[in-house]
């Protein structure tokens, strides 16, 4: 006579045997189903990794863009338009410079014309579709306010200069002013740009003023490329 305890034991043993005999297929099935179930998650994880890589790349490019903009002195308010000088600035057409970019490139009347975004050359006076005419600094009779280039913590007094034509200005300064040939003057309106350098100082003892001649550091006739600084609207 088999006791109840043994019956339970044998039943359990049988169940275990049945389970393990058919379990390979069952487990296989289970793994496949589980993998099917988990596969989309894996794909999404992979896609997530890819998008993360892209986001990192975008962030790096944005950083690079900002670095380059900073290096070029360009901010969101202004736009730098490179152009080639066609003619002008010489002895025949002395106070103008014609460039090969115009309205189509976004150039407007009054935009600044610079050399390498450092030296102020002139302003746009006329604009066509694919050309512009710049009036050079120091045009005969032009008046411009300049500031002497000083260390950052010292603010120099703005001085009015009169253009004598051919890129030359004349300034009158008190006789006790300490200036030497080669000193830099910046535009008071746009102090980030160099407007000219001192190349002649006329002073006779007893005079109350020194007559200072300032000339642009770059000769417009030798310019091939200029940068137009256009304000974004």
């Amino acid at each position: 006579m088999i006791s109840l305890q043994n019956k339970v034991f044998f039943a359990a043993l049988l169940a275990v045997l049945i389970f393990f005999s058919g379990s390979r297929a069952f487990v296989k099935n289970l793994i496949i189903k589980a993998s099917f179930f988990l596969a989309p998650e894996r794909e999404s994880r992979q896609a997530g990794r890819e998008s993360l890589t892209l986001l990192i790349k975008i962030r790096d490019l944005e950083k690079e863009n900002l670095r380059l903009q900073k290096a070029l002195g360009v901010n969101g308010k202004t736009r730098l338009i490179p152009a080639n000088a066609v003619f002008g600035g010489g002895y025949l057409f002395s106070d103008i410079l014609l460039i090969n970019q115009g309205e189509n490139a976004g150039i407007k009347i009054g935009d600044l014309v610079t050399y390498q975004n450092k030296v102020f050359i002139g302003r746009i006076a006329e604009v066509g579709a694919d050309w512009s005419k710049a009036v050079l600094l120091g045009r005969s009779g032009d008046k411009i306010t300049l500031r002497q280039d000083t260390p950052e913590n010292i603010q120099s007094v703005p001085i009015e200069a009169v253009g004598l034509g051919g890129g030359e200005f004349q300034i009158e300064m008190p006789a006790d002013t300490n200036l030497k040939i080669g000193d830099i003057f910046r535009s008071a309106e746009n102090p980030e740009y160099i407007a000219g350098v001192v190349y002649k100082i006329l002073f006779e003892s007893g005079d109350q003023f020194k007559e200072i001649s300032v000339v642009s550091p770059v000769s417009p006739v030798l310019l091939n490329e200029v940068d137009v600084i256009s304000k974004n609207e």
Binding site: Y91, K133, V135, G138, R139, S140, L164, G166, E168
Partner: protein, 103 residues
């Protein structure tokens, strides 16, 4: 080449500089026309003398205008050279044109 043709030539010469240049209106055209008028009207039979006198007149007229424009300050050497070249070329053209007519 008759006088009208000389006037028209100098008018267009002045007009080119007037439109491309940036000075006050008349800065190029007025001296060009005045120098041409003088060149035509001067009585010397030797045209070179007429041309020289017209050149001197045109040059000093432009210098006067440049002085006036600069608030009676002398124009720069480069600008003076520019005026010199402008008037010299004009008179050279007029002389060549009238010489061609003579031939």
């Amino acid at each position: 080449m008759n006088r009208q043709k000389l006037f028209i030539s100098s008018f267009f010469y002045g007009l080119i500089f007037e439109s491309i240049g940036t000075e006050i209106s008349g800065f190029y055209l007025l001296p060009a026309m005045a120098a041409t008028f003088l060149y035509i009207k001067l009585p010397f039979t030797l045209r070179a003398v007429n041309a020289l006198l017209a050149f001197i007149f045109g040059f000093f007229l432009m210098m006067f205008l440049a002085f006036a424009q600069n608030g009676w300050e002398a124009p720069s050497l480069k600008f003076t050279s520019h005026i010199f070249i402008y008037v010299f070329l004009l008179l050279a053209l007029l002389y060549i044109f009238s010489h061609a007519e003579k031939k």
